[in-house]
Point group: C3
Chain length 159, copies 3
């Protein structure tokens, strides 16, 4: 019945919850990938944040020069923080949305568009693509999350 | 029965879980609002982090001067990061707490105080209000989350 | 039955879910502790980010000198951000994993190793210990989370 939350007994065999689990895992793994890309650029650009990370390059002044910021490293870090700012709300609001009993096709639409938009956002940030590629992909993910939040509040509101 | 977790079959029609869904959505939306405020200040203060974002202001040196930090932009960004550091634990611990079978009035007390404190925190950060406004609102949200974590560990502890 | 998700009716009395709740609460509390350590270093090092935070040290130029970065404060902040980047995926993927019906001993193995690795990571970052202490503890937590994500996708995949 629309407007009511699904019974949790039906939940885990529920295709909506399986779809949520799938897309949530995908975007969280995508976010985790940013750590590896940051590490890759730190090593190849020799740009580190901690003195203990540069010890293998020698002692004293010779190692100190690798304690620096690098534009490529900083770009990946901004992309990573943007993921935290956007994928965390998707995970949280998406979980509540998946529990609020949406139709399967509507839920899949939300999850697929969000995941696609965030993957595009990462390419737009790292290549980088000219604007408004990054801006648009950010907006699309944002609007999808707002749409799910609206559905959650419409279904569950209890102040 | 106190000390036991509620059966999940009763959960989704459960007023505690609906209250959790409501307040979790509210504070996640509030956190997302910080992105819009950051964008607003970046555009009005003309202070950007990426060269591709300044391309519409012209080429070369004329655009480069907009690649800079701005005190208002940085203030909003600190507020946003503080939200991540505090609203994420609330979301996670609050979910486990809502599943641990608390009384409705006690749960509502936790959720309402947390949401109120974080909204106050944002105003205190952005206006800014003199200290200890921001500090106190941060502490209140922190203590509420610790109180829920204590309840979760008391109910569910399995090491 | 392996390959099927556990029925949620059995969930909350389920030892896997109680174990998840316990370790998730522990690592989220550990992450929250970073805020207190940051505050401790800001106060003892007199290094603040906001003018309103230095008002108690006097007015004008005498207070302005405390608006600065400090290497100890920045180190704790990097550790805190690293927690967000790693504990948030653990919380999300771990929740889906706990709902995907893993065996208790395998689930406990994942949760215990992750929690131990992240606590070690914090000590390695803050003391600091020589590398590869911090790097290894980071990798271990990362691999545990990937392993849980693999299990989630194998069980729930619905694209």
């Amino acid at each position: 019945r629309s407007g009511e939350m699904a019974k949790l007994t039906q939940l885990i065999d529920n295709e909506v919850f399986r779809a949520y689990a799938t897309y949530a895992a995908i975007v969280l793994l995508k976010m985790m990938l940013m750590s590896l890309i940051t590490a890759y650029f730190r090593v190849t650009r020799k740009a580190f944040a901690n003195p203990e990370d540069t010890a293998s390059f020698g002692k004293g002044e010779s190692a100190k020069k690798y304690l620096r910021t690098d534009t490529d490293v900083e770009r990946v870090r901004r992309g990573h923080l943007n993921d935290l700012e956007n994928i965390v709300p998707f995970f949280g609001i998406g979980l509540l949305y998946a529990l609020s009993g949406p139709g399967l096709s509507m839920a899949l639409l939300h999850f697929r568009i969000f995941a696609g938009a965030r993957i595009l956002h990462t390419f737009a940030y790292l290549i980088p693509l000219p604007q408004p590629s990054r801006g648009l992909s950010w907006v699309i993910g944002y609007v999808v999350t707002i749409s799910m939040a609206y559905q959650v509040l419409k279904t569950a509101l209890y102040l």
